[in-house]
């Protein structure tokens, strides 16, 4: 109506101050959410977010927007279901439309044996207090008739694990919504500010050097995803993390053909359809450790061919864009939230391929850690010390994709 004139800025452009109560390194979803919850839940607003590029320009802007909590272990279910519950109310809370769309998600089962495992997963999810249903092939057909129900299919559909509360969101809006809300509570958002060094005094992290100068704080939180090992290297320690490229794809826009999210572990492909009409799909990690934010051909080929087999009618759809983000993968495919080993420096990393869906929970728990110096009961099992104690939370199988 107004020709898109009259839009105000959603957040201030702040200058870097010499000291803060808390510095957060990384202006992605987790960093922005952490700053917001520090101010809102803990009344700490002398907070700076230092982002080397632009807000949400890393994995927050590169994922395929699926939001779910269909996990096997109680620790994971507590974490991801907290996130899902926060997503359910997020647009209202931030007064910013993050377009959370609980359209449900199905994880397909392709054999009698897979149906037995699916039943076990559904039972575990229900015991964890997460909504879950076991679908037979007819239930799947009702929700997603576009899928391949042929008996000649490479992997015939027997049923699925269904989580009705799962869905998708608008990834950029999550970053922007948290940024605007954090900014309005007094948080300084500093873009184009790259941390070059962690300043330690007497073994404690007391600040960081950046391309914009030195800045000090009582506590420092790092939420830098695929670059966590690089930051740890700067600070002088190693992490149990490998960085890999994870690819994603979007097709040309189509009329609505798919109103849920379908994932087939056997084909190694999952897809949904965006409000704009594009098919949004992805699959497994690249097989080669990488920091190059682009994918490689073998995985691209297997994901695209997996989609063509999952829903053969889509085989002639043209690919519009294709990209990759660098994800930080831990040995047990669960995140790391906790002290880094250097006093004053805390970690929120290791989300691997599933960081977007965890943004509200990651922010809540990391803010609790940075404000109080101690774990929230939900984040305690995800401490770095589990790799020494051996108490891993091995969720490699939960998302169904090997990582």
């Amino acid at each position: 109506m107004r020709g898109h004139s009259g839009w105000g800025k959603a957040w201030r452009t702040s200058a870097l101050k010499p000291t803060y109560d808390v510095i957060i390194i990384g202006g992605g979803g987790h960093g922005l959410a952490t700053a917001y919850y520090l101010a809102r839940n803990h009344g700490i607003n002398r907070v700076a977010i230092l982002e080397k590029g632009w807000l949400g320009g890393g994995n927050t802007g590169r994922n395929t927007t699926a939001i779910r909590s269909n996990y096997y272990y109680p620790e994971s279910a507590a974490l991801y279901d907290l996130s899902l519950r926060l997503y359910e109310n997020l647009s209202k809370e931030l007064n910013y439309n993050v377009m959370f769309s609980p359209r449900g998600m199905m994880v397909l089962a392709h054999s009698v044996a897979e149906m037995e495992i699916a039943a076990r997963t559904v039972n575990a999810m229900q015991i964890n207090g997460t909504d879950a249903e076991l679908f037979d092939a007819e239930d799947v057909r009702k929700r997603a008739p576009i899928l391949n129900f042929s008996r000649e299919a490479r992997f015939p559909i027997h049923g699925a694990i269904w989580q009705g509360r799962a869905g998708t969101g608008r990834h950029d809006a999550v970053a922007w919504g948290y940024a605007r809300a954090a900014d309005s509570l007094g948080v300084d958002i500093i873009q184009n500010c790259e941390v070059t060094d962690v300043i330690t005094e007497g073994g404690c992290a007391v600040g960081v050097n950046t391309n914009l100068g030195e800045v000090r704080a009582g506590r420092i939180g790092a939420a830098v995803a695929g670059h966590s090992s690089v930051l740890a290297g700067i600070a002088g320690f190693d992490l149990p993390i490998h960085s890999y490229a994870l690819q994603a794809f979007v097709s040309e826009p189509l009329k609505p053909v798919m109103d849920t999210v379908a994932f087939s572990p056997a084909y190694g492909t999952y897809f949904s359809q965006s409000d704009k009409g594009g098919l949004v799909f992805g699959g497994a990690l690249d097989r080669v450790p990488s920091y190059g934010q682009r994918g490689n051909m073998p995985v691209q080929e297997s994901v695209v061919s997996g989609l063509a087999e999952m829903a053969p009618v889509l085989a002639k759809v043209k690919l519009l864009r294709h990209w990759a983000g660098i994800v930080d993968v831990t040995p047990d495919s669960s995140p790391i939230i906790g002290p880094s080993g250097i006093d004053g420096l805390y970690l929120n990393c290791g989300w691997g391929t599933g960081g977007f869906k965890a943004i509200p929970a990651g922010g809540t728990l990391f803010a609790h850690l940075l404000a109080t110096g101690s774990h929230h009961e939900i984040s305690r099992p995800f401490d770095l010390d589990r790799f020494r104690s051996g108490r891993l939370i091995d969720e490699g199988a939960a998302s169904g994709i090997a990582h």
Partner: protein, 88 residues
């Protein structure tokens, strides 16, 4: 597809290769007690370098293990050397 140079077979399709681990990890001697911290370092901790990295790879088709030096950003392979030879 990217081609990786196997020191034994020459340039081959990347799908024939398997990443086996970072160079320089030595399994703790189990003839003596091994601390949890040492097991953690051996089993879990990674250098995960950005840029030049030295790694052990296996060429699955010929089953030979070798050292590959490559750039983890550009994905350029800088050098591959058989494990039995000293890298230059």
């Amino acid at each position: 597809m990217q081609l990786f140079p196997c020191p034994f077979c020459g340039l081959r399709d990347e799908r024939e290769f398997h990443f086996a681990g970072e160079v320089g990890k030595t399994r703790p001697k189990t003839s003596e007690p091994v601390s949890d911290a040492d097991w953690n370092t051996y089993l879990n901790t990674q250098r995960n370098e950005k840029g030049a990295a030295r790694e052990i790879w296996c060429h699955v088709t010929c089953q030979e293990y070798f050292v590959m030096e490559r750039d983890t950003v550009s994905m350029d392979v800088l050098e591959t050397v058989a494990l039995r030879k000293e890298p230059s």
